[in-house]
Symmetry: C2
Subunit: 616 residues, 2 copies
């Protein structure tokens, strides 16, 4: 099997064309001299967790933000790294394949070779298991040739994606030491980057010389916080899904007799569903976050869809397209509670066929109410992160089934007078995950790869490579690095089998912000989407011409560039210092004192633990 | 509802770009003067059915092939049509939406307006039901503006797609008379074109002045015969499906733990599955035609897949991608027989829950053996063409289930030593059907629209618009028209509820020719596909650059241009006549006589009814 990794392969004409595409580097990373500015120490967004995070990360918490600037940038404190001794770096895919992953490795390889041709990049074969077993492939131009700008993770493969147990951490450390690695780059999502931070702390504690760097690559788009604007893979996934969704919309409008229920891969959070809605304008989407916030039951959801179907029928429309995120099922309070009971029993070793009889009365009642196929799926063992096997639970079929039953009832009672309700169900995910990456994902991943090199060259440990201001063209991107521990939060409540992770700092999947601009855009258009069939067909992913440079709608509407604004604030503070120097007038000093007192008062109040709710 | 048809709509950037694309016309159709050559009378490919076809089509059988040539073409007998009195033409979508359908209407509209600005084109709203109810929308440049080169049938919509019963035929005739139509263009597949031929005959018989023209538009690609090389929509469908299949292949190769079972829409025949296999090189495909020819049972198929899984595991490969056409289920002899029994009972009014007890003993045994979900799907009422509801029967889940059971058994017995078998199932169809059409489909459909006009201008009735030599660039395409009745065959055997159609000439779906070049290409590569993972990713549908002008593999490898070769033969015959004129030498005459006697002997033998098996 391993012999197949990284082998050259036959490419289609389009793949060949793409393999010749070369992403642009932002000015700050061009050439071989990069200035590194390390400014203020970072803090966790949720102050209430800070104490715990500090305790878990004594060596790596509170490190400063890093900015990478062009050599000519006029920043007094920045350090120019001019010496580039040869280093050895390892890299691995950790977590589900996301389009663009290969380009991180390509970018890292290019940066390594530009700065010192003697630098060595080793790819671990088969993900974390390859790391533990020290199975490597040296990354060279030849190896990369047929993987540049290509989808999948097949250059190196991936496996179970966990570096968490003592045994796993020790195996990882042994590998880094045996291979004399100066750096270890972990490409993955929320879970893998959490593991990366813990690994970095362990390395710092034990004086292991390998620096650990994380890269935000996940199609779910849920590794989002004040430092991270977007994840590699999300753009492609949403574009491919939107292509398919809008094809289905066109189909619905042509035949006028089907309701399509489409479930979208994306784990617990509904980012993919929201973005696809903004791109393709289906009639409805039900976000897990809405359901959780309004505590909607499965019956509420059914009624809401039935009312929509009925409203459309009154406009003579007997077709429609409804999106459901795969995480929806866990967002429905009573289903979540049922799942927790089931998982608890599974953990106790109760066999699947015995579970029904051991559920609490109310859980048992819900369970027995559900159709046969969905019961079987709810009984599946939970995933390694303690969530249900979301990709295997056909929520779309469950909802379609309940809606159909209700519509037939309404038809019989005469309250619904439209055509007989017909549903067709889909699950979109696997068919998008292996796609050729979009231009944005190619560019973003490639530049992130370069950033990884500069993090290592600066000797930083436990950082994630970050690029901000992404909605602007690549030549305006800001490159930097943030300590992963500063992105962590601590969950204090929980129940069920996941209890073990309570109290341990971790990156948690960012949910859709119901007060954010993307959601606002959806809310404003929801009625129009529902009734007017303003379906939008962005078409298949293009690499040239209109649409090729389009970016995710949610990326473009959100307030962005947190890090740019942090820098702006620092400039203001510097300016105040320059203006209010000893010798300035009484009036100027008075005005400055008054204004600063007011600012500090306001900030103290709104950043006290009691008033903060984590924005992600 | 109707108010929504043909309304201008917001297009995405890519849709806008596409809406400005203008297909090229072959030289023969350029300008306003086209020469029509009507040569030899056509005959049915299967002589044994000829008598019956003649009886059903006394007015429209045996009409000559028509060729459209450029005005300057030196063909002695061709007629130049110079007068173009204003005509009124109706057009409707009939049958499942196929990408490119809109362009037939656009091409027809352009041709009408070029030849006489007073020509009128009426689109029927909502397919055949719009025809019966005489609901029309006049097609204008404004209406077309946002539908050019766009997918779906939403400009006019479509419905049940049948013009067959006396009542339906009479309603159609009434509409044509009331609207004073000179021509009626029916856009559809096998069934709709059969209806078109019968309608043409009826019109001829009753002296209705409306001429009926059919256009081969069906994503299934099964309207294929000596006159028709390809169908509008097939190219797009196969490209979109291949994009998704190859994404799944990349995914399989990255995660290395799943077997993907993908069922493909395409009705009874396996053209879509074959073409997608040739484009994306998955590990396996099981064509319905192979199963039928080898009389494989469902157990044989299971064993065959299990052996493949086992062979791959011996090469350390625990992943794979397997394609199944949706028609497969009907190709399995014992399942087909079971379906016939079920449909018979359903027709007798037996309710679904009672059917199991009334099946014959062997059918009952098979039925009870099948998993619960598939039993429910087999009990669905058959479609209007008497076939099972193929899109609703999850054959891929059935096969995956049976394979999993068998692999677990082998694992237990120790005959299989690979990893635990994991299957993920997909059905690809709806998400491809509404796609933006490929350049080929845009061009092909647009030119077919023009051909329709010339058929009507030449006063032909009961013809299908045909273009041959399609594998070459559009400027080498040959445009013509063939009587639909000449493409018909007569089924003499059959059982079950479909019996009524036995003995009536019809177009039957062309199955994959197991002696054809496309299948040969598959056979040659099958082992390599199975074991070597030579996955090919053509990428998303492009409209520019590499791949944009690619044509279906099966189109390119098949011997083509039947009509071009018919013309070539006529040239040979003409040449013989020129050479062997009275006055030629004894030797020349002797040689000619001997050669011609031999040729006629050979042709008589191989075209006798007993030796002909229909090639489609």
């Amino acid at each position: 099997m391993d012999a197949d990794y990284g082998i050259p392969r036959e490419l289609s004409d389009l793949q060949k064309l793409r393999s010749h595409y070369h992403p642009e580097l932002p000015p700050c990373l061009q050439g071989t001299t990069v200035r590194v500015e390390l400014r203020d120490a970072t803090t966790a967004a949720d102050p209430s967790g800070e104490h715990t995070i500090k305790r878990f990360f004594p060596h790596t918490y509170g490190q400063p933000l890093a900015h990478f600037l062009r050599a000519t940038a006029k920043v007094p404190d920045a350090q120019i790294i001019t010496e580039h001794p040869a280093i050895r770096v390892g890299v691995l895919f950790c977590g589900r394949q996301s389009p663009g992953g290969h380009n991180v490795i390509w970018g890292l390889h290019d940066a390594l070779k530009v700065h010192n041709p003697k630098n060595i990049l080793l790819g671990f074969l088969g993900g974390s298991e390859g790391l533990f077993a020290q199975k490597t492939l040296e990354i060279t131009d030849d190896v990369l040739a047929t993987y540049k700008n290509q989808g999948g993770y097949d250059m190196l493969g991936r496996t179970k994606d966990q570096i968490r147990t003592t045994e796993q951490v020790n195996a990882a450390m042994a590998a880094c030491k045996a291979l004399k690695l100066d750096g270890l780059v972990i490409i993955g999502g929320v879970t893998s980057n959490t593991d990366a931070a813990h690994l970095a702390e362990k390395f710092a504690e034990t004086k292991c010389l390998t620096k650990v760097v994380g890269v935000p690559v996940t199609l779910n788009g849920d590794l989002k916080n004040q430092f991270v604007e977007a994840n590699v893979g999300f753009d492609t996934i949403c574009k491919v899904n939107s292509q398919l969704i809008s094809n289905v919309c066109t189909d619905a409008l042509s035949a006028e007799k089907y309701y399509y229920f489409i479930r979208l891969m994306g784990r617990k959070a509904s980012h993919v569903a929201l973005e696809c809605t903004l791109q393709s304008h289906p009639n409805m989407v039900i976000l897990g976050e809405e359901v959780a916030a309004s505590k909607l039951t499965i019956f509420d959801i059914t009624q809401q869809i039935c009312d929509a179907v009925q409203a459309r029928a009154e406009h003579d429309k007997n077709h429609g397209v409804i999106l459901l995120p795969e995480g929806l099922i866990e967002s429905i309070p009573e289903v979540y509670a049922l799942l927790q009971e089931i998982h608890g029993l599974l953990r106790q070793g109760v066999s699947a066929d015995k579970i029904s009889s051991q559920l609490s009365p109310w859980a048992s009642a819900l369970f027995e109410f559900l159709p046969h196929f969905i019961r079987k799926q709810l009984l599946l063992h939970p995933e390694s992160d303690d969530s249900a096997q979301l990709s295997q639970i056909e929520t779309e079929k469950l909802i379609a089934h309940l809606v159909e039953t209700e519509m037939n009832k309404r038809l019989k009672e005469g309250t619904y007078k439209g055509k007989k309700f017909n549903a067709i169900c889909h699950f979109f995910g696997y068919q998008a995950r292996g796609s050729l990456p979009s231009k944005f994902d190619c560019d973003y991943a490639y530049v992130l790869g370069h950033v990884c090199y500069h993090i290592l060259a600066a000797g930083l440990n436990g950082y994630m490579a970050t690029i901000t201001n992404l909605k602007n063209p690549a030549n305006k991107w800001h490159c930097g690095a943030s300590p992963i521990s500063a992105m962590m939060t601590v969950k204090r409540y929980g129940r069920g089998p996941g209890k073990a992770s309570i109290g341990v700092p971790a990156l948690h999947p960012a949910t859709v912000d119901l007060r954010g601009k993307s959601y606002e855009l959806l809310s404003q258009n929801a009625t129009k989407f529902l009734l007017d069939d303003v379906y939008r067909n962005p078409g298949p992913l293009q690499f040239d011409g209109p649409g090729a440079d389009a970016k995710a709608v949610s990326l473009c509407v959100e307030d962005q560039d947190y890090i740019g604004r942090i820098k702006k604030l620092q400039e203001y503070l510097d300016k105040v210092r320059t203006i209010v120097k000893p010798g300035c007038s009484q009036d100027v000093l008075k005005a400055a004192l008054s204004a600063m007192a007011s600012v500090t008062d306001i900030l103290s109040v709104i950043s006290s633990p009691s008033s903060v709710s984590t924005p992600f």
